[in-house]
Symmetry: C2
Subunit: 189 residues, 2 copies
C-alpha cells in the first residue's frame, strides 16, 4: 500500500453541479451546489449542504421549500455565475425562465432537464454548513429527456453537468464502462 494521509477533506467524486432554487425576499434566487445527495427512496428525499450565512437559507427558512434543478452541460456559464455571486449582491431572478410546482414556495428552472421540488423535513447544524434534507414531493422532466414508452428519463439527453472541485472544472458524463447488476456476476469468488 502506498497511501498518503492528507488530513480531513471533502474529497468525494463525482459531485453534481445543481442549482438550488428558493424564493428570498419575494425574488427567485439560485445557488450552485455540489454537495448534494439522495437521502432516501420512500419517501424520496435529498440532502443539500448550505453554508450558514447563505442567502438561500433565508428563503428556505421562510418558505420551508426549495428546488433542486439538474443543470445540463451547456449551462456551465450560468451555473458558474450562480456559484460566484450571492443573491444578496446580484439579482439572479432574471437569469432563468421559471415555473412553480405543487408547493409554490420555490422557483423551478425551465431549461434544466430535471427539477425536484422539495419540502424541508430536517435541518442539521454541522458547523460550517446546514444540511437541509427535503422530501421530494414532485419531479419534472423536460419532454425531450423523457422516454414515454419506457417511462424513464434518458441520461444522455439530460447531459448533466458535473463539478470536479479538486481541479475546479465542469465536466460531462463520459464513457460507459459497465452494466450494473451484471458485471458483478462475472466475478468468480
Amino acid at each position: 500500500m502506498d497511501k498518503k494521509s492528507i488530513g480531513p477533506s471533502t474529497l468525494l467524486f463525482p459531485t453534481p453541479a445543481v442549482l438550488v432554487g428558493s424564493e428570498v425576499d419575494g425574488k427567485a434566487n439560485f445557488m450552485a451546489v455540489a454537495w448534494c445527495g439522495i437521502a432516501a427512496s420512500t419517501p424520496p428525499a435529498i440532502s443539500v449542504a448550505i453554508r450558514g450565512q447563505r442567502h438561500t437559507l433565508k428563503g428556505i427558512a421562510e418558505h420551508r421549500s426549495f428546488s433542486v434543478n439538474i443543470a445540463s452541460a451547456q449551462m456551465a456559464k450560468k451555473v458558474d455565475y450562480c456559484g460566484m455571486y450571492s443573491g444578496s449582491s446580484r439579482d439572479k431572478s432574471k437569469l432563468f425562465s421559471t415555473f412553480r410546482g405543487k408547493l409554490g414556495g420555490a422557483p423551478l428552472i425551465d431549461e434544466c432537464p430535471v427539477n425536484l421540488e422539495c419540502k424541508v423535513i430536517h435541518q442539521l447544524e454541522l458547523g460550517s454548513h446546514v444540511l437541509v434534507v427535503g422530501e421530494i414531493v414532485e419531479s419534472y422532466v423536460s419532454s425531450d429527456c423523457w422516454d414515454a414508452q419506457k417511462k424513464k428519463v434518458i441520461p444522455e439527453k439530460i447531459d448533466p453537468l458535473i463539478y470536479t472541485g479538486a481541479s475546479q472544472v465542469y465536466q460531462r458524463l463520459g464513457e460507459i464502462v459497465g452494466k450494473a447488476f451484471h458485471e458483478g456476476k462475472e466475478l468468480s469468488l
Copy 2:
C-alpha cells in the same frame, strides 16, 4: 415550457459509486453506495443513505465508524458485486486488501485511490433509509494520485467511477466543458 410531472423520484445526476466499508461481526464488509454527499467543510462531513435492513448498519451501530472509498473506473466489476450481494449472504472480507486508519473501527480499501475515514455524528431515520452523517477524521490518497508539489489530488488519475441509476450503467468522467470561477464572469447581465 414542455415539462412532464413524473411524481416524486430520486433523479439526481451524477451520483458516485463508492464503497462504504464497515466491520460487521468481526469481518470487513463493503457496500456499493450512490446516495452519498458531502455535508459540511468545517469539520468535513459526509452523508450516506443506507436502507434500514442493511448489513452495513449493524457494523456502523457497533463501531460508530465507517469508511467511504472512492472506486476507480477499473473497479466496476467489484463495485457491482458489492452492490448485488449482501454481506449477510456473501463474505466480502477477502474481496480487497485493506488497511486501518486512525479510528480503527472500519476497513479502508487499498486499491481505492481515495479513502475517507468517518466517525458517525448523526443518524436520521428517513423512512426507507437511514441517513448516516459522518465526520471525516482522515483522508488517504494513493501516492500516484497525489501531486506533491501542488498538494492536490489529480482527478484524472483517480478516474472515479460514476453510477448512472436511470440507465443502470457505470461511467467515467467525461469531457471538460468549463473552468469554475471563470465561465461565470463572461456572462454579461
